[in-house]
Amino acid sequence: MAASREAEEVKVLGLTVSPFVVRVRIALNLKGVQYEFLEEQFGSKSELLIKSNPVYKKMPVLIHQGRPICESMIIVEYVDQVWAGDYASHSILPSLPYDRAVARFWAHYIDDKWFPKLVVILKGGDTEEAHAEAAEELKAGLKLMEEVLEKHSKGKPFFGGDAIGHLDIAFGSYWTWILAAEKISGFKLFQQKQTPLLFAWSQDFCLDVAVKDVLPDVDMLVEHAKKFSAWMIQNAAAENN
């Protein structure tokens, strides 16, 4: 009875393929929170979405006790704060202020500098040169993330240490999209030899019980690539406005 009442309290609006939506679902899973997933229709926006996020009209939106929270990493921090302490032993953000600043910085970098390059690769239509340049920048970004992992995980499997944390969620939500982009574009973005720690991390991340059922499958993403790419471009364009 209590579980279903709680499930009514927490709703997530979004598409299963959106890496931003995936972030929210991973966070809720890590906290063991029951929620109702309200799948949006591809290509159109529901009344509820527009009403809940009038500023951007974008997903994901978390609705908790009737109130909406928007922007994926803001939602993740909200979830971390609400379901904290005794309720859930897992803390998503690190405990020390400096480590939190580092996690937030790299999460911001991923969305701000790195993700737009992924969009270029998926889009198609640009020159071969533009694609090659974007691929190089993505690879450089992955190398950076390898260094971050090495420096901040302190030998543990995740960016967050022993368990999935803020930066794992921010970055990992893109993982199968990276692999799908490789298949679609023919560019090799991720090379195990160049980023061995990331390789090991990706194995642990993708198989984690909080992740495996919500991270979209690579082959599924490739199969629907055209449709999703158009969505990605639209999303990126909307963000740039």
Binding site: R67, I69, E71, I74, Q81, V82, Y98, R100, F105
Partner: protein, 222 residues
């Protein structure tokens, strides 16, 4: 390199992003060393402290760099948590403050830049967008004293440095913020009653001169 103890801020005098950090440090009563940066000839120190973006502000705390103004402000709030809390405690209020601060980051400076860089129809469009942005923020403020409610907080300091740029924007794009968004102008006056704000914000005339300088150097970003 030996770790330099204490708090150092790498900044640029007119940067609204740097000013957010200065206001936060002032609110918390933190002693720090201010190091003015030449953005047209970036120092080794800056490049080493922020290799990813090569931008100010950068806060160095006992030699460890923190970058991105809102991330720095949150860091300051968490480290010096005994005084003047900036982010609200309550999770929904906190998420809301972050949401609007992020909105300000995405929209205000970029749109403001178009106000002085562009002409004719493009400038008109930018002006319309700028006013819409601030009308939204005005709606969020409502009839409250500050965005934080009764107390000055995170969202107030995220926005207030841009107020010093209003005169320049109004002059170049020919409009009046007092006419378009009177509640924002009134809120800004209340913020200026705080020493942390009045001592930090640039003189609007100096901002105007700086924008003139940028116009001559068209296309230079900082």
């Amino acid at each position: 390199m030996a770790r330099e103890k204490g708090v150092v801020l790498l900044d640029f005098w007119v940067s609204p992003f740097g000013q957010r950090v200065r206001i936060a440090l002032a609110e918390k009563g933190v002693d720090y060393e201010y190091k003015e940066q030449d953005l047209f000839n970036k120092s080794e120190h800056l490049l080493k402290s922020n290799p990813v973006y090569k931008k100010i502000p950068v806060l160095l705390h006992d030699g460890k760099p923190i970058c991105e103004s809102l991330i720095i402000v949150q860091y300051i709030d968490e480290v010096w948590s005994d005084k003047a809390p900036l982010l609200p405690d309550e999770p929904l209020a906190r998420a809301n403050a972050r949401f609007w601060a992020d909105f300000i980051d995405k929209k205000v400076y970029e749109c403001g830049t178009r106000l002085w860089k562009l002409k004719g129809e493009e400038q008109e469009a930018a002006k319309k967008e700028f006013v819409e942005i601030f009308k939204l923020l005005q709606g969020e403020l409502g009839d409250r004293k500050f965005f934080g409610g009764e107390t000055f907080g995170f969202l107030d300091l995220a926005l207030v440095p841009f107020v010093a740029w209003f005169y320049a924007y109004e002059t170049f794009a020919k409009f009046s913020m007092d006419e378009e968004c009177p509640k924002i102008v009134a809120w800004a006056k209340r913020c200026m009653e705080r020493e942390s704000v009045s001592k930090t914000l640039s003189d609007p005339n100096k901002v105007y001169e700086f924008v003139l300088f940028l116009k001559e150097k068209f296309g230079v970003e900082y």
